[in-house]
Amino acid sequence: MALLELRNVKKSYGPVDVIHGIDITVASGEFCVFVGPSGCGKSTLLRMIAGLEKITDGEIAIDDEVLNNVTASERGLAMVFQSYALYPHMSVRNNLSFGLENISTPRDEIDQRVNEAARMLQIEDYLDRKPGQLSGGQRQRVAIGRAVVREPRVFLFDEPLSNLDAELRVATRGEISALHKRLGNTMVYVTHDQVEAMTMADKIAVLRAGKLEQFGPPLELFNAPANRFVAGFIGSPKMNFVKGTIGEGGAFVSEGGAEVQMDTSRFNLRPNQAVELGVRPSHTSPADGGIPLKVRAVEQLGTETFVYGSVDGAEEFAMQLSGQVNIQPDTVQHVAIDAGSAHLFDLDTGLSCSK
């Protein structure tokens, strides 16, 4: 069991800073997901934990042991790479046992651990094949197996599912979650897919441009996003944002003049503040007298209906309605917003106005 701590970790390549001081504490046994758009530094951060990248400043510690000057081979961690990075010239069995041989594990224990991992991941039948003879899903399992046999203090996953097709990705996602439950290890998982993050994580760290935007459990991020970026990144379909100002009595006034009365006790607001109103498509409904929505397209999925269009103050606005609703494109539909589930973000700073 291992407590992973990142204390003000920074990374720069020459004059270019890519990680700007990140503090994260992953409790022992937790499944932590780093999520963010590409180029946000999440993989760099993971490689710094692994020891494959040098730490420019700050500390990385596991169980209070600072690892800054410990090489990757001595950290006792295991990593699953995006490309799997299986040794192409070794059989699956040797791929699994290579790490154990390096730390001089007795031969019978190696065999026992390899067989156990192979049974757990259902790759027993392929143990004598070379990686080149396996399918993508099988290679994925071998890559995970290579990490499992090491019994590491911390598992590191670097976008392990991005090379799988959609169906396999969902299945493997479930398997990794199950593996985490069974092994109980601390795991750090990097992905750009917020659905993976939401479904698997105990804690999510949302990163943007080398900064930590928010760190917390998935539903906390979903229900109480700290800023506009997190609100837009977490949740599918995406949250709608409508530009406007705070009018008299704390009501939100959109650019087109439509008003939405907000519960002022939830927000810190000042009059005439420029804000954006954030509302998830599922918290909108058609209603007479609401905000006029110019309908551009309608998607009927049977169990639910998506309506896309624009309102004053938002180029893109979506409604998610349950059941089959008869709305025609190129019409104007009035939309009511569930003010109790809506968020307000300061237009300049992007921070949430919630108390």
Binding site: A50, G51, L52, T71, A72, S73, E74, G76, L77, A78, M79, F81, Q82, S83, Y84, A85, L86, Y87, P88, H89, F98, G99, N102, I103, K130, P131, G132, R139, R146, R150, N163
Partner: protein
Amino acid sequence: MSAVWDFMTRTQGRGGRLTWTDWLSYGYLFLGFLIILLPVLWLGLNSIKTQFQIESQDLSLLPGDFDRVARATVNGPDGREIFVIGELPDWVLNWSDLSEEERADQDVAEFLAGYDGNRLYALRSHLGQVSVAARRLIAEEGLPDWLNRYGALTPTAREAFDLDAVVAPLNEDQQRLLLEYLGQPPYEPNRIVTQALVTAPNPETGEVMQWAIPNPNATSEFFPGRAVDGSIEGVVRLPADTVTATRNVSPAWENYAEPLAGDAFGLTIDFTTCITNSVLVTVIATLITLLINSMAAFALSKYTFKGQNFFLVLILATLMVPATITLVGVFKAIDATGLSGSIWGVIVPGAATPAGVFLLRQYMLTIPDELLEAARMDSASEWKVFWRIVLPLALPAIAALGILSIIWRWNDLIIPMIAISTNTEAYTIQLCLLAFRGEQVSQEHYRLAMTVISLIPTTLVFIFLQKYITTGIANTGMK
């Protein structure tokens, strides 16, 4: 096999018909094939020609010789007589090439009993029986002992002995034998040489008959021929285009056997020692080359360090300097380090080759860094990363460099010449081949045969290692 045939008969398409590009391609391939094959074939065939055939510059492709016949010269009271003796067995014709044992196997006395007159005299001299018979005569007739020494005496010393008085009582045959033995005029030594047996029409009568001529390969318009049956006196001018020579095919395997067994005539170096030295040099030098070069290539391709580009450029810059320029320096270095005269003097200077470092570096750049990182995550030390991951994955490039290195070392002449030419014990095969052309004797027949031997290892290496060049890249296991 059918896969090979399919490959060899591929066409551009269009229903299997050959287009002009197919003809051009196949023609070019065939030409290239011949350009490689013909010289090797020529070398192979020449290597089994006899020394006689090579020295007579016989350009025939096949090893072997013309049917031969004996041309005898007999000196006597009637003057010099030249005639041809047909139908002699091979052992008589090749008598001077036979070993002691082979001569002992033949019953010379019985053979000579079948001849008389000038033929007997010629054959008796040719087969070395004159001295034997003469000594027996001296012993049987109780002639004086000084006769045995007489041939070696100076003219002044001979005056003390009266030869005529000793000879006079003997019969004619005995006189002739004794005088031939002593080389007294007019009995100068008789000789038999072999000439080519050919058939040609008699220029005067048109009757087709057998002739003996000196050399059917000569480029003259006429050959000087002697009738084998003796029916025509003297030499007849035979027009070259009417002459038909027949030849036998007999490979001279002794060209190989004798130097390999160490009993080649006129050679002081042992060819098997040369092969052993060459094998040692090639194997050790190649192993060291591969190890050093792959380690350097690993550092240059997979690590970042200060001066990395400087070192790469420095290594590549040495490629620009021709080896001959540094030759004197290399010699001085070999001499100064005391490696001169030992095979280490050949092995060490060539151990690190800039071309090899560059070749391996370029290949190693294609090995994904993630594999190395995965190994490091697997607690592998840097040496293990190199030995267990990078080296096996670079095997195709290493095999290619291995082949090159083996060929370079095996065929190298310059470095062995400056490093070990002082010590014949350390000669490599190329120096050995050079030694067959000595100052006094030139043993081209041995040299050709041993050149063929020296080609075998490089050929085998290419056959067995070339599959590594083509495989390997396909199976990277990434994505």
